[in-house]
């Protein structure tokens, strides 16, 4: 245990992802955990682990001093913030550095410059990068937002100034909605980012969300690693991402990459970062924000460009140049689905709990990043993302086929997940043809699929057999009230499921 130690100021899937990068580099990972996470996978895979408080994030994962104390007590010399939590908190980054530790991320000044959406907009405007019309300072009250709406028109998008990852955003379609939306957005911003400043910008409808991955090192070199298509969003939360975007031509890619590198250089960017653009239907693109951290959807870029972004971040933080001698060429197409612990059949209600059985998909071109395994508990205190399914294919069509296979092969029992939602979504002709925008899922209604009749027959027989064998412990109990139609599902069972009459 004389290898250097890296403290991961995060939990769940991204903490496990960073642990793997540490192992690949011969670094010893140090976990922190709230009371809700004592038995979590990221703790069990680490060499050191420190308790940092009660379940609510604001009393544990969001408390800088507890993280720093944990680093001190375990002798960690590096701190990786992951995404969310304190990852874009410039003060925290500064404190880490002042404590003599290495911050695995960009300089605090770069975070500060880009972390405030309003300041970053000002910087980009100064650098000649096109931006969407929006407020240049946080709104002091609801009236300022109403005034901006009257001047620029509705709909508006309310955003947390310290936010990111789609958290705490809200659409305001008319002046009458402003007051309530202001209060609600501010409350969520405070609870998630410990910073209640919010602002508004014009919502350009029908546009796509396309973002460019950049990587900079201490030599001043900044490169772009292509774009990601992230237009499929629900409640402003990305749910499915692709690399590359089928909507981006090589010429457009070159332009976006050029602007992204310029944006990075404008803030002396060192580390992995993402420059987000709004891509309008007419091909114009606008700077939205820059995320000065690793992104949930980074694996699609990794698969297409053959690079380990988290490993690069750690290398770069230690003062080494990035390992990529030349800009790598893209190969094939990758897609990621974010698997959430939620029930798509019941309005996507959160579905925390114990995972009774987990079958992870496997095989060629498949990557599963998850923060849980068989028997683990998904606590109700945090983001509901339990896994990411990432597939690679020679082209987009092959990647789509593989993703359907992966979603069918997977089993998650004990909690509900968004897997059935994705299975339906990937049958939508517009999704298959990439005719989407960031509003696409607002209008898209999930309908649970009717199970095939032979599967229903098999399930009923299995349940009856199981109930007979374990009559005492598993006998079916009382009934609930039923509906109207007949059991026509049985009718054709005889054709498809080995039947004698």
């Amino acid at each position: 245990m004389n290898s250097p130690r890296l403290l991961i100021a995060n939990r769940g899937e991204i903490a496990v992802r960073i642990i793997r990068a540490c192992r690949d580099l011969g670094i010893s990972p140090v976990a922190v955990y709230s009371e809700a996470d004592r038995g979590a996978l990221h703790v069990r895979l680490s060499d050191y682990a420190v308790a940092i408080g009660p379940p609510p994030a604001r009393e544990s994962y969001l408390v800088p001093d507890r993280i720093l104390a944990a680093a001190k007590s375990t002798g960690a010399t590096l701190v990786h913030p992951g995404f969310g939590f304190l990852s874009e908190n410039a003060d925290f980054a500064r404190k880490v550095q002042e404590a003599g530790l290495t911050w695995v991320g960009p300089a605090p000044a770069s975070i500060a410059a880009m972390g405030s959406k309003t300041e970053s907009r000002q910087r980009m405007i100064a650098a000649g990068v096109p931006v969407v019309p929006g407020m240049t300072t946080p709104a002091a009250n609801a009236d300022e937002i109403a005034a901006f709406g009257r001047a620029n028109g509705f709909p508006l998008l309310l955003k947390a100034a310290a936010g990111g990852g789609g958290k705490g955003m809200r659409v305001v379609r008319a002046e009458s909605e402003v007051a309530e939306a202001f209060a609600r957005t501010r409350s969520e911003a405070k609870s998630y980012f410990a910073d209640d400043r919010i602002y508004a910008e014009l919502l350009v409808e029908g546009s796509r969300h396309v973002e460019v991955q950049i990587l900079g090192d201490a030599t001043g070199r900044v490169i772009a690693l292509g774009e990601r298509e992230c237009s499929l969003q629900r409640r402003h939360q990305k749910v499915l991402e692709e690399c590359p975007s089928a909507a981006v031509s090589p010429e457009l890619r070159a332009k976006m990459e050029e602007v992204a590198v310029a944006a990075g250089k404008a803030v002396n960017y060192v580390s992995a970062g993402t420059v987000e653009f709004l891509l309008a239907k007419d091909g114009r693109f606008f700077f939205l924000e820059m995320n000065t951290r690793i992104q949930v959807e980074h694996p699609v870029t990794e698969m297409v460009y053959g690079v380990d972004l988290v490993v690069e971040m750690i290398r770069i933080a230690r003062g080494e140049p990035m390992s990529l001698k030349e800009k790598p060429a893209p190969r094939g197409h990758a897609i990621q689905c974010r698997i959430y612990a939620e029930d798509p059949a019941h309005g996507f209600a959160p579905s925390p709990g114990r995972i009774r059985r987990l079958r992870r998909p496997q095989g060629p071109g498949i990557r599963v990043d998850s923060g849980v395994e068989d028997g683990d508990v998904v606590p109700l205190d945090y983001d509901p993302m339990v896994a990411k399914f990432i597939v690679w294919g020679q082209d987009r069509a092959e990647a789509l086929r593989r993703m359907r296979r992966v979603l069918s092969e997977a089993r998650v029992e004990g909690i509900e997940t968004s897997i059935p939602f994705f299975l339906s979504l990937l049958e939508d002709p517009d999704v298959v043809a990439n005719r989407v925008s960031t509003q696409f899922l607002d209008d898209w209604k999930y309908e649970p699929k009717r199970p095939p009749e032979d599967v229903v027959a098999a399930s009923v027989i299995a349940a009856a057999l199981g109930s007979m064998e374990g009559a005492k412990k598993r006998r079916p109990g009382a009934a609930r009230t039923g509906g109207e139609a007949g059991l026509s599902a049985w009718r054709n069972a005889r054709m498809s499921f080995g039947v004698r009459e």
Binding site: E188, Y382, S408, E409, V455, V460, A462, G477
Partner: protein
């Protein structure tokens, strides 16, 4: 053994009679006789191979409410399975008659962020009465009916489980 099975959204159940158990099962579903080979690979996970070779792996989990949750390739659904005695008992006691809603329960686990009403308040159907936070999302809980709040059974900051009573209505207040 005889069972009644009912799919969600269907009022009438159908009869399933299992005349031979695992492994060489034989079951009658209405008029059709289904036979094949059944193996419980592990607790609740079954592989069924029909006479025509059709193989289906399905996991069946008995839920607390007595329903069954089935999970197979790309399919996830629930149904009710009752042995005949239970089914008849329910029919006799009229167990299925709809009841009036006397209280509001949590549809999901979470933390109560804000309580928007107090005992004595009159509320309309659909009116937000609480804000529940779960997995970093604020979820408005709406009143399932019109009526007068008899008591609020939860306070801000409290963690609630699915099914916990959040507030009660006065009897006959709708």
């Amino acid at each position: 053994m005889k069972f009644q099975v009912r799919m969600p959204g269907q009022s009438e159940g159908r009869t399933v009679v299992v005349t031979a158990g695992a492994p060489a099962f034989e079951a009658t579903l209405e008029n059709a006789v289904l036979t094949g080979d059944a193996l419980e690979v592990r607790d609740g996970v079954w592989s069924l191979v029909g006479l025509d070779g059709r193989q289906i792996e399905v996991s069946v989990a008995f839920q607390k409410d007595g329903s069954v949750r089935a999970s197979a390739a790309g399919a996830l659904f629930g149904f009710e399975l009752l042995d005949e005695l239970t089914a008849r008992a329910l029919l006799t006691t009229g167990g299925r008659a709809a009841k009036k809603v006397r209280h509001l329960t949590a549809a999901m686990p979470g933390r109560v962020l804000r309580v928007l009403v107090a005992a004595g308040d009159r509320v309309t159907q659909g009116q937000p009465v609480l804000v529940l936070e779960a997995m970093k999302m604020e979820n408005e809980v709406k009143s399932p009916r019109e009526g007068v709040v008899a008591s609020v059974e939860s306070v801000a900051g409290q963690a609630v489980s699915q099914g916990d009573v959040l507030l009660r209505f006065e009897a006959g207040s709708e």
